[in-house]
């Protein structure tokens, strides 16, 4: 019971994970693959001039990739949107894809 309480997320969201108690810790890690890239790389500075980095967070049509897809944490996403919008303003990134 106490063990169950320890990770209510995995037990509730994924019923199949419940009976594989031994693997659960590993599985939990596995499922949590969305990790903020900027946190992991300890990149504090998200600069609008760094087009290479920003490109990874812009969809094909030029839209900013939402957090729920890219996995970027909220503070970094805020700075990221800021940087992308600045880059768009100075024609480093497109507002919308051509054609």
């Amino acid at each position: 019971m106490a063990e169950f309480k320890g990770r209510p997320g995995s037990a509730g969201q994924r019923p199949t994970g419940g009976d594989k108690a031994v693997v659960s810790q590993k599985k939990q890690y596995f499922r949590r693959k969305k990790i903020c890239r900027f946190c992991v790389e300890k990149m504090d500075d998200i600069n609008y001039k760094d087009v290479k980095t920003l490109h990874a967070f812009v969809a094909e049509r030029g839209k900013i990739v939402p957090r729920r897809i890219s996995g970027v944490c909220a503070p970094h996403q805020r700075r990221l949107t800021d940087a992308i919008k600045k880059a768009r303003n100075i024609a480093l990134l497109p507002f919308a894809a051509q054609n």
Binding site: C39, Y48, A74, N89, I90, P94
Partner: protein
């Protein structure tokens, strides 16, 4: 005094000498207004992400300077009036820099603390320096998302 960054795009068909001349002109004007130019960087011709005034590419020039707000206004006016500049962007960077410095200091401090506190616990283990280095790195990653 604040630190600013000015990035502007010059028309691609303007000869190089003229651009240099223009940059020099801006620099002298800035210094005359009491500002100090810290950096001038020419990125050369780059493709624009979208068409600006019928141009598909442009030469980027980056200025970094310390100035009072009024000076920036004047500089922007000059860029707007100039025929060869098609786009410009001014960003104030001193606050961002301050924040980054603070963040870096915190990070260093935390790392130092971790390094200092790690050895006592695995002291019984023979490979102390190795495990200490490992301990300093490993908890930093899962801990990060929460802190931010």
């Amino acid at each position: 005094m604040r630190i600013y960054e000015e990035l502007f795009i010059v028309k691609p068909d303007v000869p190089e000498e003229e651009v240099d001349q223009f940059v020099e002109q801006l620099r002298t004007q800035l210094t005359a207004a009491g500002a100090t130019v810290d950096k001038v960087e020419k990125w050369g011709k780059r493709r624009l992400a979208y068409r600006v005034d019928k141009y598909r590419e442009g030469a980027y020039v980056l200025f970094e300077f310390t100035a009072a707000p009024d000076t920036v206004k004047e500089l922007e006016r000059r860029l707007r009036v100039s025929d060869m500049v098609i786009k410009f962007l001014t960003v104030r960077i001193d606050q961002t820099r301050k924040r980054l410095d603070k963040r870096k200091k915190q990070r260093d401090k935390r790392a130092a603390k971790r390094a200092a506190s790690a050895p006592p616990a695995p002291a019984t283990v023979p490979g102390a320096p190795q495990s200490a280095a490992h301990a300093a790195e490993a908890p930093a990653m899962p801990g990060q998302p929460k802190e931010n």
